[in-house]
């Protein structure tokens, strides 16, 4: 196995007195696809938000591509521009067109020219199958389209790692598939992905590993086949029975 691109050791985090992440140890290899699931409040979103330091951990170490994330970090921006993130609520910039959403960071962070940035943006909009919406504004698009723009916006920075924080949870059922299809393609192209989701079908299809979290701990992790057919822990069994029963 090559050197892991993400290495988390004995990491702990508190919100005030609430112990939200407990002794997390996790290594992710380049190209690996990880699905993180668990009941709400289990700390899974907080975990991936620690990976680009939207949240700060208090104990232990997190290394992303060999750089340790801690308070002394000078160029957090350069780490962040290599780690793309997609949010549950899309978080597109409503005052900018789709194209401007996608070119903002390449122009101002990567110092690309407008022409280069737009060419790149159109290429990724093509890839998420909405090339014809480039000049519209986020408010004119459906939820599914907005989330695909958000994915294209993150991809425009050519990230090595993509983080997905419940990307389909805010979508109407008929739009979930169009977003998942884009994510499956991205996985097939070899992107390193960490994905917090309740879409178990997606997990079965693309995940190399499924991680189950509860009460701030990684309770169980396994390959999807074994994870779903033969869960070891009682809490995992109960969670799966609730998610898969309907």
């Amino acid at each position: 196995m090559t050197d892991p691109v993400i290495r988390i050791s004995d990491m702990n985090k508190w919100f005030g007195t609430f112990h939200v992440l407990r002794d997390i140890n996790l290594q992710v290899a380049a190209g690996e696809k990880i699905v993180i699931c668990g009941p709400s409040g289990s700390g899974k979103s907080t975990l991936i938000r620690c990976l680009n330091r939207l949240e700060q951990h208090q104990e232990g170490t997190i290394e992303v591509e060999g750089v340790s994330l801690d308070g002394s970090l000078k160029n957090l921006e350069s780490i962040r521009s290599n780690v793309g993130m997609v949010f549950q609520q899309f978080n597109l910039f409503p005052h900018m067109s789709v194209l401007e959403n996608c070119t903002l960071a390449p122009i101002w962070v990567k110092q690309k020219t407008k022409q280069e940035a737009e060419a790149l943006a159109r290429q990724f909009l093509e890839r998420v199958r909405i090339p014809d919406q480039a000049d519209k504004y986020p408010g004119q698009l459906s939820g599914g389209q907005q989330q695909r723009v958000a994915i294209a916006r993150a991809l425009c920075m050519n990230p090595d790692i993509m983080l997905f924080d419940e990307p389909t949870s805010a979508l109407d059922p008929e739009m979930i598939k169009e977003v998942l299809d884009v994510m499956v393609e991205l996985a097939e192209d070899g992107m390193t992905m960490l994905c917090v989701t309740h879409e178990m079908g997606f997990a079965r299809q693309v995940a190399d590993r499924v991680i189950f979290m509860d009460e701030g701990e990684i309770v169980e992790e396994n390959e999807p086949e074994a994870f779903f057919s033969n869960p070891q822990n009682e809490r995992t069994k109960m969670f799966l029975s609730q998610v898969l029963s309907h």
Binding site: N52, R80, P94, H95, W108, Q111
Partner: protein, 378 residues
């Protein structure tokens, strides 16, 4: 539908009839009491002095000119007040949100003091409490023997412009245009070559070139007029009267407190996710503020900010309390007491404020429309 139209027509007729009756009533009453009506008085000799005039004025000028003087004085204090209140208010609003405890608390204390004391009292405080208690001109506080602060106001040196000063004015205009052009060029260069280009150095070169050219065309047609104490008062320079300073200070400081709260709530109204998305893309915080947060906050800030601008302009009429010669003071005050035509004079004064306010609203609404989102923003 049909009945609504009939009802509305009836109401309209009733309102118009009421107004016709009111106007007729006023006219017949005025005639019975032998009070003049009409606007003939505007061309009559005013006969009183005004202690701050932006254009030439003597007691022999007409009441019409008094209206213009008062309007200009109102505009002067309002425009400068809006400018200072906006600058101070935005700084305080951002300071209020600072992560630095001390800065945030200082801003909070300022806001709570200035917005909770009546404006009239604040005007009186600056005028009677501070500026009128300064030493007399003979003991004036001197700044480098050029600027003097006394209970008669602040006297500052002035550039006396001679023939050819116009060339310098043109140079200044060209410089402003050059600044806008250079900024646009810098942004274009950033977007086409990827690298930011300089604005300030070429601007300095342009300034030297333009004023050099003006000096060649017209020489140096300026003489510095430094104030000097002669007898009991100062001669030369320009005197900023204490009434103006007190009113401007009070209006700016008071309105800034409200603007600060508007700015704070505007920035807070931008979804936290917007900052997170900017950060996740690697945008530094300053750029995220400038490109993502502020443009969205402005959409929320502008409508209440417009109200504050209107308030400031209208509140400037409190000038009467300290006899600053604004439009209310010279027109609805002095002129009214001399002419006695209350209906016309109050009407003109109200129309002037109405026009100012409608113009301000119109301009701010145009600005706001440019900020509006397209589609249903979440």
């Amino acid at each position: 539908m049909h009945r609504d139209a009939v009802l509305q027509a009836l109401v309209l007729v009733a309102v118009v009839a009421g107004m016709v009756w009111l106007v007729g009533n006023v006219q017949s009453n005025l005639e019975r009491q032998n009070i003049n009506s009409g606007f003939g008085f505007l061309s009559e000799r005013a006969g009183f002095g005004i202690n701050q005039t932006l254009i030439d004025y003597t007691e022999d000028d007409s009441f019409g000119r008094v209206v213009v003087i008062g309007l200009l004085n109102t505009l002067l204090v309002s425009i400068l007040g809006i400018l200072f209140a906006t600058l101070l208010g935005f700084s305080l609003g951002v300071a209020r949100l600072s992560r630095n405890w001390l800065i945030s608390k200082i801003a909070m204390v300022y806001i709570e003091i200035f917005r909770n004391v009546p404006l009239l009292l604040q005007i009186m405080f600056w005028y009677f409490g501070v500026l009128r208690n300064l030493p007399s001109p003979r003991q004036a506080l001197s700044v480098g023997d050029a600027m003097f602060i006394s209970n008669r106001g602040i006297v500052v040196p002035w550039l006396e412009a001679g023939a050819g000063a116009m060339w310098y004015g043109l140079g200044l205009l060209a410089l402003a245009a050059g600044f806008i052009w250079l900024r646009r060029r810098a942004l274009n260069a950033k977007l086409t070559s990827g690298q930011p280009t300089q604005v300030w150095r070429p601007l300095l070169v342009l300034a030297l070139a333009l004023f050099g050219a003006a000096a060649v065309m017209a020489g140096v047609p300026f003489a510095l007029d430094v104030p000097q104490l002669k007898g009991f008062n100062f001669r030369g320079g320009v005197t900023v009267i204490p009434e103006f300073v007190a009113l401007l200070l009070a209006l700016s400081l008071y309105t800034a407190a409200f603007i600060a709260e508007i700015v704070r709530s505007g920035i807070n109204s931008v979804n936290k996710g917007q900052r997170e998305a900017s950060a996740a893309l690697g945008l530094p915080e300053s750029l995220a503020l400038r490109l993502v947060v502020i443009p969205q906050a402005l959409r929320v800030i502008i409508p209440p900010l417009t109200s504050q601008y209107l308030n400031l302009t209208k509140n400037s009429s409190l000038a009467v309390a300290i006899a600053y010669p604004d439009i209310v003071s010279v027109l609805a005050g002095t002129t009214l007491s001399q002419v006695g035509q209350a209906v016309e004079i109050i009407f003109v004064t109200m129309m002037i404020y109405l026009s100012l306010s409608l113009f301000t609203s119109w301009a701010m609404n145009r600005y706001n429309q440019r900020m509006a989102f397209v589609g249903n923003a979440t």
